[in-house]
Symmetry: C2
Subunit: 211 residues, 2 copies
DNA sequence: CTTATGTTTAACAAAATTGTTAAACAATAT
DNA sequence: ATATTGTTTAACAATTTTGTTAAACATAAG
């Protein structure tokens, strides 16, 4: 008779809180964000906020786990498909770019939080459960088909992630220094990288190595 | 008769404070670090800390400017030399790696702070005074000599910075996920990238584009 | 109607942090 | 010897934030 006893008469208050908390935490950081900020953003009372999440820590943990759960699938998705390698790379860049366009603050948020409190990782990584070994071996095999045998696949991963993430992580600085703070030019730049990055990688892989 | 009236009898207290503040700010962030933390790290009293730097903001600003002054020259140094382009790239990676090895927390610290408070940039960038236009045009010219005409040099910059910085920015996460948290293996990985990254870039530049 | 749940307002205690001040002391310079 | 500077100890006010509690109210469910 009561499948979800809790959701009786709130018109999605919990959802509103989670959205607000996500937004505020991402923009101000864990320490910079106050419960009052979050309550304001959610359009509710601070007391009610504590009523849903007893304390800031619990709320933050919920948000952080949720954010990681958003990010992790993006990492692997492209390499789960069975397209040709170069297509996978293109897809990798595209999936990440899509995700970053919707969550531009995500990388800095995650990085900063993990950097300040590495212990948080332990609990979450298991929960996500990603099998890196399989993926890495797959990439090694693909690399061999390009005649590249002396490259740890993790270098390729680091290269790709670096190239994709940097423009978002370093945006305020890079946009100002290299684009005279022209926001629209920078957004065009970000779009261009959907082509530029895969092309750069392709060239590096197909390089003059196959004599 | 008194050239520097201030430095009378302190055995380098100000230096100790600056070192301590740099360390604590970088590791805990601006909000996570308390004046007490810094005083402790410097081995002095909190009152004395306020005696040297009236408030936390002034101290932080001093540190932040100092940190940026450390990072910025690294960006340009390699491209000031007049070696062949590929040598410049190798040098770029090396200079950055050297700097990051000594200041591993620097990128996250700077990124996080600028991301939270972009206004801080304005004041400092002028002070450093880097001429991006000259550098960019130089790179464009070099790219043309490789037959690459359709590439905004800023893509190359973003690629290089991303590949160099990512392993430091994402270290806790990447080390755990891809290296089973094997610290020494990761440090070897970081060293390997001194070769891997320039090679990757060289391949991409020399790629099959010169028919 | 009565009850339970969600919600607001108000008030409060506890803690942490910041910035300031006063008093005392050591050592150096004049 | 005296004044100045650096330094410590102690104490304090002001602020911010967190977490809690009590009281009142609305509404939907029983």
């Amino acid at each position: 008779m009561e499948p979800d006893k809790k959701e009786n008469l709130e018109p999605g208050t919990e959802r509103k809180i989670l959205e607000a908390a996500g937004k505020v935490f991402m923009m101000k950081g864990r320490l910079g964000a106050s419960m009052q900020d979050i309550a304001d953003e959610a359009g509710i009372n601070r007391t009610l906020l504590h009523y849903y999440f007893r304390n800031k820590e619990k709320l933050f943990d919920t948000i952080f786990a949720k954010v990681l759960a958003t990010a992790f699938p993006t990492i692997v998705k492209a390499f789960m498909s069975d397209q040709p390698f170069l297509e996978k790379i293109k897809m990798f860049v595209d999936t990440w770019t899509d995700m970053l366009k919707e969550n531009p603050y995500l990388p800095v948020f995650v990085i900063q939080e993990i950097s300040l409190n590495p212990d948080r990782l332990a609990g979450i990584i298991q929960h996500v459960g990603l099998d890196t070994d399989v993926a890495l071996k797959g990439i090694t095999k693909e690399l061999e088909s390009y005649g590249i045998v002396d490259m740890d696949p993790r270098h390729l991963i680091a290269n790709m992630l670096g190239m994709v993430l940097f423009p978002y992580i370093g945006r305020p600085l890079f946009q100002k220094v290299a684009f005279g703070d022209d926001k629209e030019a920078y957004e065009q730049f970000l779009e261009d990288r959907r082509e530029q990055v895969p092309r750069f990688i392709n060239l590096a892989l197909q390089g003059p190595g196959q004599e």
